[in-house]
Symmetry: C2
Subunit: 462 residues, 2 copies
C-alpha cells in the first residue's frame, strides 16, 4: 500500500473536491470589498460543505464580515457542516430568524449534532424554532448519552407492517408527505414497533405489486442499541457493509435509524482521535484554534513527558563515573535510545490499529506478542550488525562495537514488546489503548536504551 498515489498540496488546490485557491482569493476579495452580490455569485455554485470549509479557514475578521454579507443565504445544510469549534460563534453572528429558518429544514439528527455542544440559552432558542414533533424527536435523542447511537440516529424512519404488499407500500409512500430526505430501507415493524426486518428500496422497486414485504427482507438486517458507542456503530457499518440500521431502545422498540453517511463521518472522527491521541494531543484540534488553544491541547502530555524524561536522566546520572572515563559514550548513547523509540512507535501503531479493527483479540494476542518478540530480535540483530561494525571501525574499538550491538538488541526487543504490551494492557484495563501509549513506550525505550548501553559499557569497557 506504500506505493499509493500521494496527496499533495498542489493536487489539493487543483482537485475536484475543494474550491481552488483562485476561488478562495476571489471570495476574500469580495468580502474585503463588502460586495454582497459578488460574494453571492461566487458562493452560489459551491457545495454547502465547501462553503463551510471556507468559512472555517477565513481569518476571524473576514469570517464575521462574510457572515454579515451572506447571512440571508446561510441555510441548514451549511450550518450543519460548520465545525463545532466555531459553531457557537457563527450562530451568534447570524440573525435569529436565519438560524430558525435553517434549523427547520434540517433532519433531526443534524439538529441534534448542531445543538448538543451549544450552551443552554442558544440551545433553547433553536429548539423553540422547531415544530412540536421535531422538537420532541430532538429532545428524545438528546436524552441518550453523548457519543451514543441515540445521538447519531435520525428519528424519521419509514416503517411498514410485514403483511403489506409492495403495491400497498408504494401507494403509501406516494401519499406520505413527510418522508426523510434520504432513506434506503423500509423497516418492517410489528404492532408494538419492534423492528422485524427491512426491505431495500431496490428490492421494492423490482418486485411485483402483489409480493408481501415479509417475503423480500434482507439477510443483512441487524438492529443497533441506542446506547451503543458511536465508534462501535461505525465499525459495525464498515464490517457488515450496512447502509442503514434501525436503532432500538432497551425494550427492543424502534426509536430511529442510522445511515451510513453519518457512520462514515464518525469513522473519520475516530481516526482523527486515534492519531492525535497516539501523538499525545489531548483534545480535538481545529483549524480555527488560536495559539493559546493549541498550546493548551498539547501542554499536558509535554509536562508528563518532562517527568518521564527525568527518569532517563536519573538512569544516566548513575553512570556518571563511566561517562567521565569515556566521554564518547555520552555521544553514542542517544543512537540506541532513539532507534528503540522508532521501533516502539512502529509496534505501537500496528497494535493500536489492530485493536481498533478487532484484528488483535484475546484469541491471538499471545501469538502477536510472540511475533513482535521475534521481529524485534531479528531487527535488533540486523541493526546491531550495522552499528556494531560501524562503531568498531570508527572508534577502533571492537569492544565498543560489542557494547553498541548488545544494547541495540536488548532495546529493540524491549521496544517491540513494549509497543504491543502497553496498548494491550491499557485495553485489558478498560482504558483507551491509544491514550498516552506513545509516552509510555518512548519512556521505556529511552530508559532501557540508556541503561543497557551504559551498564554494558561499564561492565565491558571499564
Amino acid at each position: 500500500m506504500n506505493d499509493r498515489a500521494p496527496q499533495t498540496a498542489e493536487a489539493e488546490d487543483e482537485d475536484d473536491f475543494a474550491p481552488s485557491r483562485a476561488e478562495v482569493v476571489a471570495i476574500e476579495a469580495a468580502v474585503d470589498a463588502d460586495d454582497g452580490p459578488q460574494l453571492d455569485a461566487l458562493l452560489e455554485p459551491l457545495h454547502a460543505a465547501d462553503i463551510a470549509d471556507i468559512i472555517e479557514q477565513l481569518t476571524p475578521t473576514r469570517r464575521r464580515a462574510l457572515l454579515r454579507l451572506y447571512s440571508g443565504e446561510i441555510d441548514g445544510e451549511i450550518l450543519s457542516e460548520i465545525d463545532e469549534a466555531i459553531r457557537e460563534e457563527v450562530i451568534d453572528a447570524l440573525p435569529r430568524e436565519v438560524v430558525a429558518e435553517a434549523v427547520r429544514e434540517m433532519d433531526t439528527d443534524d439538529v441534534v449534532d448542531l445543538v448538543e455542544d451549544l450552551d443552554a440559552p442558544d440551545r433553547a432558542e433553536i429548539l423553540a424554532a422547531l415544530d412540536e414533533s421535531d422538537r420532541a424527536a430532538v429532545e428524545q435523542s438528546l436524552a441518550w448519552p453523548e457519543y451514543s447511537a441515540g445521538r447519531l440516529m435520525q428519528s424519521e424512519v419509514v416503517t411498514a407492517p410485514g403483511h403489506w404488499t409492495v403495491g400497498e407500500t408504494i401507494d403509501y409512500l406516494r401519499r406520505e408527505e413527510e418522508l426523510p430526505d434520504q432513506f434506503y430501507h423500509v423497516v418492517l415493524v410489528d404492532p408494538r414497533r419492534h423492528p422485524t426486518g427491512y426491505v431495500t428500496l431496490g428490492r421494492l422497486l423490482s418486485s411485483a405489486r402483489n409480493v408481501r414485504l415479509a417475503d423480500i427482507t434482507e439477510d443483512s438486517f441487524r438492529t443497533i442499541d441506542a446506547d451503543e458507542y458511536e465508534g462501535d456503530v461505525a465499525y459495525a457499518f464498515n464490517q457488515y457493509h450496512l447502509i442503514s440500521a434501525p436503532v432500538v431502545d432497551s425494550h427492543d422498540r424502534l426509536v430511529g435509524i442510522i445511515t451510513i453517511d453519518d457512520a462514515m463521518a464518525v469513522l473519520d472522527e475516530e481516526h482523527e482521535e486515534d492519531m492525535l491521541k497516539l501523538a499525545g494531543v489531548g483534545e480535538e484540534s481545529h483549524v480555527t484554534d488560536n495559539a493559546i488553544q493549541t498550546a493548551r491541547q498539547r501542554l499536558p502530555w509535554l509536562v508528563v513527558n518532562l517527568f518521564t524524561a527525568s527518569l532517563s536522566a536519573l538512569v544516566i546520572s548513575r553512570f556518571e563515573h563511566t561517562i567521565t572515563s569515556l566521554v564518547t559514550l555520552a555521544a553514542l548513547m542517544p543512537i540506541v535510545a532513539s532507534t528503540g523509540g522508532i521501533a516502539g512507535t512502529q509496534s505501537l501503531a500496528v497494535a493500536v490499529r489492530a485493536l481498533a479493527t478487532r484484528d488483535l483479540t484475546s484469541g491471538n494476542a499471545r501469538r502477536v506478542v510472540l511475533r513482535e518478540l521475534l521481529a524485534g530480535m531479528l531487527n535488533g540483530l540486523g541493526l546491531a550488525l550495522i552499528l556494531g561494525l560501524g562503531g568498531s571501525l570508527l572508534f577502533g574499538s571492537p569492544w565498543l562495537g560489542v557494547v553498541l550491538a548488545g544494547a541495540m538488541i536488548v532495546n529493540q526487543i524491549v521496544a517491540a514488546l513494549g509497543g504491543v504490551l502497553v496498548p494491550l494492557t491499557l485495553s485489558r484495563l478498560g482504558l483507551d489503548p491509544a491514550l498516552a501509549s506513545g509516552t509510555f513506550v518512548t519512556t521505556l525505550t529511552d530508559v532501557m536504551g540508556f541503561f543497557a548501553f551504559l551498564s554494558l559499557a561499564t561492565w565491558i569497557l571499564l
Copy 2:
C-alpha cells in the same frame, strides 16, 4: 473528544459486532476434532465478514484444516472479505470449483478486488470462471491504474433516459432480471451514455407514475473520473455525503458506479496507511504476517534512523570537553531532546491530519505556521519555567536552570515549526506528507535539543 468511551479488549470480546471468545474457542475445538458438521453449525449463523476474520486470526495449521472442512460453504461473500495478505493462500487451498462458483456470485468490483493482487495463473483461472460479460467488465476495470476509481467501481449500473416516467422506470426494474445486489440511484444517461443526473430510489418510490425522471433529479449529483485516486474519492464521499457516484471515462461516458460502502472501506484503509506511515512502518501490516514479514516492514526506517541518530551523536561529540567538565550535562541533555520530540510529533500529527482533510491549504498555511510558532513559544515558556526552576533547585545552580530553560524554549519552537513545515514542504514537493515526517522531525528535535543545550551550557557554565 477525549472523553469519549474507550474501546476495550473486554468490550471487544463481549461486543455485538464480533464473535465472542467462547465462539472462537468452540470453532477451534471443532477444527481440531475434525468435526465438519459441528463447524458448519457454529459458522452458519455468523456474518461472512466475521467468518473471514476468524479465518485470518487462526494459526496457519488450523486455517488450512478449517478451509478443508468448510470448503463447501466458502462463498463469494466470505472470499471477498478475506484479507489480501492470505487471499492467495486461501484460494490455493480451496477446490477449483468452489472458487469458480464463489466468484460467479460476486459483483464485478469485488471480483476486481479479489484478483488484482493475485499472480497471473490464479487470476486467469478466476476470470475463466466468469461469464463473458462479467469477465469483460472485470478486465475493463483492471485496465485502470491501481488505487483508482476505475478499480473501485462496479460496472453494474441501473440507467434510464431522462425522458422516462417514474412508471416506465418501475416497470423496467420489475422486468429486468440482472439488477445489482445493491443500488441507490437510477443514473440518467443521454443516448451517448453521458450521465446527466440521478434519481434516488426514495424519490422514485414516492413520486407519481407520470412524473418524468428528469424532473426529480438530485442536486448532489456529481461524477467521478475513473482515474481519480481512490483516497480522493473516499474524501469526496465523506465531504459531500454521497451515497453513490457514477464513474466516467475521459470522454465523460459512464463506465461504472462507486457506492459509499466501498468508499468507507477505502477511507478506513487510508487512515491505516497514514497512521503506519507516520510511525515509520513501510508497508501494510496484517494480523497474519509472520515475524520475518513484520521485521521487514519495519527495518527500512530503523536503518534510516540509525543514520539520522548518528547526527545527534556527531553534535554531542563536538561538546565532549563541556561534558567532561560537567558530567551532569550528559544526564540532563535527553530531557530537552525528548520533550522536543513529543512536541514535534504533536504538531506533525495535527498537520498531517489537516492536510488530509483539506483543512490546511495554501490559503491558511501561513496563519497555521504562525499559530504553531506562537503555541511552541507558549509551551516552551511554560516547560522552561518548570524545568528551569526544578533544575536550579535540584542542582543548586541557577545558571544550570537558565541553560535548561533556554534550551527548552528554543527546542519547543523548533519542534512546533518542524512539525508543520516538514509535512507542508513534502506536500508542496508532491510527496506524501505522512511519509517519513516522523523521522525527519524527531531527528530535528534531537539534534537541536542537544545542540541548544550543550552550546548554551558551554557558553554560560564553563
